[in-house]
Symmetry: C2
Subunit: 404 residues, 2 copies
């Protein structure tokens, strides 16, 4: 007999069209927001010109234009989740195609590049306020990832985490790149890790950030240098995953998960999964290769476990739109660490073809592993209300026939 | 019957004690050199404190102190090569332990960080002049790697390459990190690639450079921040190889080896070899994964081959002090790309225990593969004079008994 599955997407996105954030921005920033938004819109236009081929994007967007409002409209979002069979979702900022991103560069990645700290905080908190309202529609189904510009002020970040928890948010995103700020092995961040551990807040890194000016030219996105910089996109897509893993390289070596053993961190939409085992193998190699490293002094005795053991205990992988080939190496990675995501509503996501994706990807797949990757791993990792989600799934979940 | 092997070390170092470079520095820079050298010495002292445990280093150095002069004294160097059974060597700058490095930060890595372009050029050319003299003792055995601060001035670099060839040097090293300068996919560097291809000059990247201030603190090496930055060395050793491969990521995607199909490049002392196959697999993945990348536009049609094919055709791997475990995956990497190095006179090198290293590493190893890795690959890659080297090896080479 067929049974409906609880599917959790660990990679969904939501955000208001940028100008609509105004009511959520503190009024003292309204004037500067009116000036800043047109500039940010122009930059987004330029950036998307170099990142999305217009014809392909327009062809994708045309038939689903009205449904893309699901990135901010709750009723439309419920329909999308029902169509996709998704019972619960982790929600990052930025719908992208509709320019629905928080003002002041407070969107995905939270880049400190050219950011004004006070304004990025203002934009981030505006998004967090709106996100808390969106998720309050059904907190067991919608886990919003709050934006925390940690690099600028650790104490402010600690207070923001408390605000998030008080307002029903228990996931946060911090910058993937620190640029000239202190990296995450610095002990100054300990109060932040501590409050996240204490309050059960999961830290997230979402793929995308990388040193764009190196690939695309110092004046990117305002100047198109593609003639002088052939293959820039190839270099970018070949490095972006390294920049995503990098915060964990620093956190693991820095002993963050040693001092805060219940802290949890997710890396999301990192592309192909086959680079995770070699990355961890390299970290372990440097942890165990005593002969080589003796002359470098002791950089290990503060760690009671090998790097890959912290990763397995404390971390999770948001495997957005994961292809079958990557799932076939699940046991090398650790099948329980892999959590599927739809990446709604990004053009590279499975929506609006998620039903077809399920069939193509999971046909003749072991049901037990498939259930874990599609939902059960996320239920455990995030501590979701399984009973409530089972009720939702009974209405909208795909059936286990997809494994046959 | 036993037979002596031609061994080529693709990773040796040579350099005068810093102050002794003065006669090789243009006289107009002597005054500023007198001021700069004490500062550089102090920085080297501080840096080596954080990189080399003094007790371990001193214990290593004590019995071989007089022999370390082989880093600049030709007679002593000949003895070392004979002891090690090395018939030919590729010579990078920097002996390190004896502070034998060119002035003005023109040593290994050629970092543009805080460099004064005119002075770094002056220091680099001083080293190149001295190196040309050293190698002139027996050009078939000693291949000096000239230092070329390419980032600052492409035309000056082109002229420097011509000077090198005129003076018997046909290997060059360019900066591994470009920082705020243009990366190596920029077509502005084409005249440099062109002159190297035309004159048969091999480009080298040597491991070591990485963004040290990120690991060790913004004031490194003058301020010791190790208390606030636990595990900094772990993060460094886990990333340094990525920074070494990075120039090739940009050169391959940039189509450099497409436009200059006879250009050759070496990555040297990158640590464990097991990261090379996943790195190339990732590049190939991004080259072939059409579905994902269609929306990103065309970043491939300027490349007629997959990235790993350029690597196999145009690149070589300086496998310094390579352990047996890495040699066991030689066929995954491409056995003909792997070229052994002794790393003389660095403390992590095989010298003064190279004979013992040969036995430990190559016992019960296939002789054909062993001969290639120890010397024949380098003879082919660099186009060395095999007959001359065979004569040298007949006197000093280790015998093929080491494979039994």
């Amino acid at each position: 007999m067929s049974e409906r599955l609880i599917v959790v997407s660990t990679d969904c996105h939501a955000g208001l069209p940028i100008a609509d954030y105004k009511p959520y921005v503190e009024s003292k920033y309204h004037e500067v927001m009116d000036m800043a938004v047109p500039v940010q819109v122009e930059m987004m236009d330029k950036a998307s010109e170099s990142f999305l081929i217009k014809e392909i994007n327009d062809a994708w967007r045309e038939p689903i234009r009205s449904e893309l409002t699901g990135a901010w409209d709750y009723k439309q979002r419920e329909k999308m989740l029902a169509q996709d069979g998704i019972s619960a979702e982790i929600i990052f900022p930025d719908g992208i195609t509709e320019q629905n991103t928080p003002p002041f560069g407070a969107g995905l990645g939270l880049s400190p590049r050219q950011a004004v700290p006070e304004l990025q905080w203002a934009g981030a908190m505006a998004h967090n306020r709106w996100l808390a309202e969106l998720c309050a529609n059904d907190p067991a189904r919608h886990l919003g990832v709050a934006s925390i510009p940690l690099l600028f002020d650790v104490q402010q970040a600690v207070e923001a985490v408390r605000w998030c928890v008080d307002n029903g948010l228990r996931c946060v995103m911090i910058p993937t790149m620190w640029l000239e700020h202190d990296p995450y092995h610095h002990t100054k961040y300990d109060p932040f890790w501590e409050v996240c551990e204490d309050l059960g807040v999961v830290i997230h890194f979402h793929s995308g950030p990388a040193p764009h000016p190196e690939y695309f030219g110092p004046e990117w996105p305002t100047v198109d240098n593609s003639e002088q910089l052939p293959g820039a996109m190839g270099a970018y897509v070949s490095e972006v995953m390294w920049w995503l893993y990098r915060p964990l390289t620093f956190m693991i070596w820095g002993g963050v998960f040693e001092r805060f053993p219940r802290l949890k961190a997710m890396i999301v939409e990192g592309g192909t999964l086959f680079m995770i085992p070699p990355w961890l193998r390299l970290l372990d190699h440097n942890y165990t290769d005593v002969q080589f490293s003796a002359k470098l002094g002791d950089f290990r005795s503060h760690l009671s476990m090998a790097p890959s053991e912290y990763f397995a205990r404390n971390c999770g992988i948001g495997a957005s739109c994961v292809p079958r080939a990557d799932l076939d190496i699940r046991d090398v990675i650790g099948a329980e660490l892999i959590m599927w995501g739809s990446d709604f509503p990004h053009p590279e996501g499975t929506w609006p073809n998620t039903a077809e994706y399920y069939k193509q990807t999971f046909a003749d797949f072991p049901e037990d592993a498939g259930r874990k990757i599609l939902g059960e791993n996320a239920i455990n990792f995030y501590g979701l209300d399984r009973n409530h989600l089972a009720e939702v799934a009974a209405e909208i979940g795909p059936t286990n026939e997809l494994f046959h």
